[in-house]
């Protein structure tokens, strides 16, 4: 799993509107609106800069967003949800 590269919509592929603990995300390619909570918007922000592996993502979330309490297992579960929603894909 940790070797898998994940790819998300690049910059401009999403419209993001923070609401409260939820963030509304409009996915331009599908026309679908998603309501996301931490750390999903942050994952999408990191992947917006380019494809990334789980390990690199974990490190970036800790460094850039202070999300350093996550485990690889928890992150893998979040990534799986985003894959199922069509927001990201395995490269």
């Amino acid at each position: 799993m940790s070797g898998t590269i994940f790819r998300g919509p690049l910059d401009g592929g999403l419209l993001i509107a923070p609401l409260d603990e939820f963030t509304a995300v409009y996915h331009r390619a599908s026309g679908i609106t998603h309501l996301l909570t931490e750390p999903a918007p942050q994952i999408l922000a990191v992947l917006g800069e380019g494809a990334s592996s789980l390990d690199v993502l974990l490190e970036r979330l800790g460094r850039d967003y202070d999300l350093d309490d996550g485990t690889p297992e928890a992150l893998a579960a979040r990534l799986e949800e985003l894959v199922e929603a069509g927001l990201i894909e395995r490269a």
């Binding site: 509107a17 609401l19 409260d20 939820f22 026309g31 609106t33 309501l35």
Partner: protein, 286 residues
Amino acid sequence: MRYAFSVRIGPIGFRIGSDWRAPIAELQSLYRDYPKPHDGVPDFTVRLFARRPWRRLIRPSVEIGGDYMLPEAAPLPLRQGLLAAEMAMNLQMALGARRYLLLHASAVERDGRALLMTGISGAGKSTLATLLAVKGWRFMGDEFALLDPATGLIHAFPRLISLKNEAIAAAEAAWPTARMGPLMPATPKGDIRHMVPDARAIAAMDVPATPALLVFPRYGFEAETRPVPPAEAFVRMTQASTNYVALGEAGFRSLTGLIADVPSVAIDYPDGASAIEQVEALWSAL
């Protein structure tokens, strides 16, 4: 078609064709003070027709058709023809409207600013809009409020007010001078009677308003007022819009903009008088 009528309600033009005279005559009478569609070209066509030629005369049954249809729309007896026309017009809006984000909400205006009320059927959005209109607010509509993605303004859609069951007597008492359509007992929705919005609502229907307050009323509870968190308001409004998805990016921008700019408040109320008081208090605190 054999009989036809066209009308403009707010920015939306309709053409209604019918195999029978009665529904058209009722529409002509109730909508007599409304303008015609811009340029004479309606946005939507509605058809009231007999499935078979003989069903025009024998046990006449009104099939509902138009530009946009639902296969499950069941026919109505001819004496409910006006209801069929109104349902069909609503259906065109719900399925076909693209220029505005359609909010399933009632709306009233004061000083150029709009109060939107939305909620499940029975929450009282229609009744409250009528009561507020009696108190001097301008009635903008009791079914759909039209949010313009280009300007963020609310456009009025003051169609006939569809009163149900006990709301009929309440509205007649509140507004004794209002013009009323025929009483249609025992429709699929109960007793129905249509009321023509007041002259001011019709005269000012082309004047949009800036949204200022979003209220989620709930009837039959102790008076209580609580703020609605933005995410909850957003989700409830996506569910209260029939064309949010169809508008795509414009819908997303309009709705997130509305939620960001306008406070959302839930109101529980035991009766109309109390609701008016709660709304007025919120309004003056804006």
